[in-house]
């Protein structure tokens, strides 16, 4: 019996090698068929897309590199037909793009402000680094105060510099940072007020938030520059930049309030109940339990608000404050450099600067979102 079984039956003792998947499913060819030309329509789309990409890359390359003018004393070389980007114009003007009309010998102060800004912001943005509380204090309180005294001068033997001379990237940064720093506490208060159980406070906050969210920033800036002086006691002058800053801060706080409210709503009710059961009062509960969690959760939202604020700072040029775009726009009127391509070159530079900042921040916010997506998911 045993002889028979051993001789006739075949029992595999070793697994066969897995067969390679068919050629039509794996490999670059299959990938291309799935993603590039699965059907006639797909192939047409691919061809169209490739053509579009090629055309655009060529346009930019041709304008910015191949046909560009690299060195010239003035705009003469950029005026002939068919010439590309006028880089010497950027070379002559880039300091104005960064500092505006800030007096030449005092520009180190503005540079120092940029450095302080970077030194307080970068460690704050890296979650691994310690002393977040101290760091946040330095960024939200120390940095603005130090920057103000550095830039405005008039103390410690620093030459006073009027705000009308401030400009370029410096003002872009000032408006956006002051906007976010001032609007954050205001936004927190408005968000808390909107979720308050006290009807009058809730009403006031809702009306405030919805009002500022409902009107365009330009009208807010016009209001700040035209109406704010009327609101002040007779004879009191408000600096033009300060007016714009007030407008921007109030406007942003309404948007931030909504972002923060989203965070507050995402905190499970148990957290509130737990805090109350511990006998904490309202401000203790909010300050120690709810806000730390809610704010952490809305960091991406706050960064997104900052991105739109950063883009919106360009609007201050309409109330004649010269931010980066304003400086470029003003420099285009210079007869020395006037040419058909000067405008395109200037806008290209502005676009690159804004894009690098905004894209970097949006990537950061996405990264934070993934990092924070561990908490209250249910």
């Amino acid at each position: 019996m045993s002889d028979v079984t051993t001789s006739t039956a075949f029992v595999r003792s070793v697994l066969t090698e897995a067969k390679a998947p068919p050629k039509s499913i794996v490999g670059p060819w299959a990938w291309a068929r799935g993603h590039l030309f699965g059907s006639v329509f797909d192939a047409l789309l691919t061809a169209f897309g490739l053509f579009l990409i090629g055309w655009m890359v060529w346009q930019v390359l041709d304008f910015a590199v191949l046909r560009a003018v690299w060195s010239a004393e003035n705009g003469e070389a950029c005026r002939p037909e068919g010439v590309g980007a006028c880089w010497p114009y950027v070379g002559a003007y880039w300091k104005q793009f960064v500092y505006g009309r800030y007096p030449e010998p005092e520009r180190w102060r503005a540079t120092l402000v940029f450095l302080i800004f970077a030194a307080t912001l970068i460690p704050l943005a890296i979650p691994k680094l310690p002393h977040k509380r101290l760091n946040a204090l330095a960024f939200f309180v120390g940095m603005p105060i130090a920057s103000f005294f550095l830039l405005a001068g008039g103390v410690f033997g620093l030459e006073p510099v009027e705000t009308t001379l401030w400009g370029g990237l410096l003002v872009t940064l000032i408006v956006s940072v002051v906007g976010i720093v001032c609007s954050l506490p205001l936004g927190i208060l408005l968000a808390l007020g909107r979720r308050s159980k006290l009807p009058i406070i809730r009403m006031i906050c809702i009306v405030t938030i919805e009002f500022w969210r409902g009107v365009p920033l330009i009208t807010v800036l016009f209001m700040a520059s035209n109406m704010l002086p009327l609101f002040m006691p007779a004879g009191m002058e408000v600096d033009k930049l300060l007016r714009a800053l007030i407008g921007v801060a109030i406007f942003t706080s309404a948007y931030l309030a909504e972002t923060i409210r989203g965070g507050l709503q995402a905190i499970p009710k148990g957290q509130y109940e737990g805090a109350m059961a511990l006998g904490l009062g309202y401000w203790q509960m909010m300050g120690l339990i709810v806000m730390p969690q809610a704010l952490k959760m809305v960091i991406p939202g706050i960064v997104n608000s900052f991105i739109s604020l950063f883009k919106d700072t360009t609007l201050v040029l309409i109330v004649s404050i010269f931010d980066l775009l304003g400086m470029i726009q003003a420099s285009l009127a210079d007869p020395l450099w006037i040419s058909p391509v000067t405008g395109k070159t200037g806008y290209l530079v502005a676009a690159i600067v804004f894009w690098v900042f905004c894209f970097g921040m949006s990537r950061y916010s996405q990264w934070m979102e993934r990092r924070l997506a561990t908490g209250h998911k249910r």
Partner: protein
């Protein structure tokens, strides 16, 4: 240990009145209200004093004063002696023109890009991603400047106009010139009447078909019938009139073009910039909406035997739209508010015309109140409509 409790459990807790939440709430609310009233009163008082000192009249009486300036684009009648009020009305109409055309283009473009980002086609999805990342990270004002000064500003003068459709369409640095359409009376009314009739009848047919399908399961090709009614009826009537249409092309004169419809470059730049910029946001909204419909829905629909088209139309799109529409309206509102950037390139919209009125008459408060009232009114009205919509569309749960 305490054999006797201090009192019945259901009695109100003994709290000193100033620790009672009710009274504290009332106290702080009263305080806030007082503070708000005090600030408001100070502002009103200061403003009144300042206005008096500067000899500026108050009130909206200035609206009937003669404006004395011209606007580059007036869709409604704007005579030489028109009033400030009329000028602001012209601006409002121009804002509506920009907003409506911007919304239409942004929607088409945004949906295309948003669907493109989800495409299986590698090139197309990357192209759409690049579009979104590029456009939404560059300030809108910069984009408006780019289109207006760097693209449209360097177009040739009217005499050297570009003619994409020779003799009919002209493009130059004064804008886009299109031929005027003159329909004969029968053709014109036929087209309008046919369109309206087609829309009404196809709505009725769709309703009837849906009810019949729900009751009997029998299907009716309402899509094709509606298409035939809406597109075919006006066309048939137009044909019946013997294609009674005359086109008046713009003609070149010494320095300019005469006749035809002129679209000013400010409007082109603004609509281009607004719609391409907003499209990048709409694309993200659309993508998020489609991704929000879980894959199980598609699989379930397919296993019920629905075709690919039916799955999309009956299962995926209705659910995606529920997610898409609220943020989409937000984008439309943003576009409308952003159209106020027109002032930077002097397109005569509400803010731009209002700015001229503000500078000429000095009536800053009144002009700004008019602006804010109009934009706020639009926002609030949209928000109310959206609330009703959301309540109707909300998923009915147990």
């Amino acid at each position: 240990m305490a054999t006797k409790s201090d009192g019945p459990l259901d009695a109100a807790p003994r709290v000193v009145w100033y620790n009672d939440p009710l009274w504290r709430g009332r106290f702080f609310q009263a305080l806030t209200l007082l503070a708000v009233i005090a600030v408001a009163w100070t502002i009103v008082h200061n403003t009144a004093v300042n206005l008096e000192r500067r000899n500026i009249a108050q009130g909206f009486g200035f609206l009937s004063t003669t404006a004395g300036f011209d606007v580059a684009q007036a869709a409604i009648d704007f005579p030489k002696d028109a009033s400030y009020g009329r000028a602001i009305l012209v601006g409002l109409v121009n804002t509506v023109i920009v907003a409506v055309s911007g919304v239409i283009f942004a929607t088409i473009f945004g949906f295309l890009v948003g669907i493109g980002r989800l495409s299986h086609n590698f090139v197309i999805s990357r192209l759409a991603t690049a579009y979104v990342e590029l456009l939404r990270n560059i300030p809108l004002l910069l984009q408006i400047f780019f289109w207006y000064f760097a693209v449209l500003g360097v177009l040739p003068a009217p005499r050297q106009s570009l003619e994409p459709i020779g003799g009919w369409v002209f493009i130059n640095n004064r804008g886009l010139y299109l031929p005027e359409f003159h329909f004969g009376a029968f053709a014109g009314w036929g087209i309008v009447g046919g369109l309206v009739f087609g829309l009404v009848v196809s709505w009725v047919i769709r309703r009837w078909a849906r009810i019949r399908q729900a009751e009997t399961g029998a299907q009716f090709p309402s899509g094709w019938v509606s298409l035939g009614l809406i597109a075919g009826l006006p066309l048939a009537l137009f044909a019946a009139s013997g294609f009674d249409l005359s086109l008046v092309a713009p003609r070149k004169s010494t320095f300019n073009l005469a006749g035809g419809i002129q679209v000013i470059p400010e409007l082109i730049a603004l609509v281009l910039a607004l719609s391409t910029y907003t499209a990048s946001f709409i694309a993200e909204v659309v993508r998020a909406g489609i991704l929000a419909v879980s894959h199980g829905q598609t699989e379930a629909a397919r296993s019920l035997g629905l075709s690919h088209g039916h799955t999309l139309r009956l299962v995926v799109i209705p659910q995606a739209m529920r997610v898409i529409i609220p943020p989409l309206t937000n984008q439309y509102l943003n576009l409308t508010k952003n159209s106020s950037l027109a002032v930077a390139i002097a397109y005569p919209d509400l803010v731009s015309v209002g700015g001229i009125v503000l500078n000429q008459s000095g009536q800053a408060i009144e002009v700004i109140v008019i602006w804010m009232a109009i934009y706020l009114g639009t926002s609030v009205a949209t928000a109310l409509i959206m609330n009703v919509y959301n309540q109707r569309m909300a998923i009915v749960e147990r």
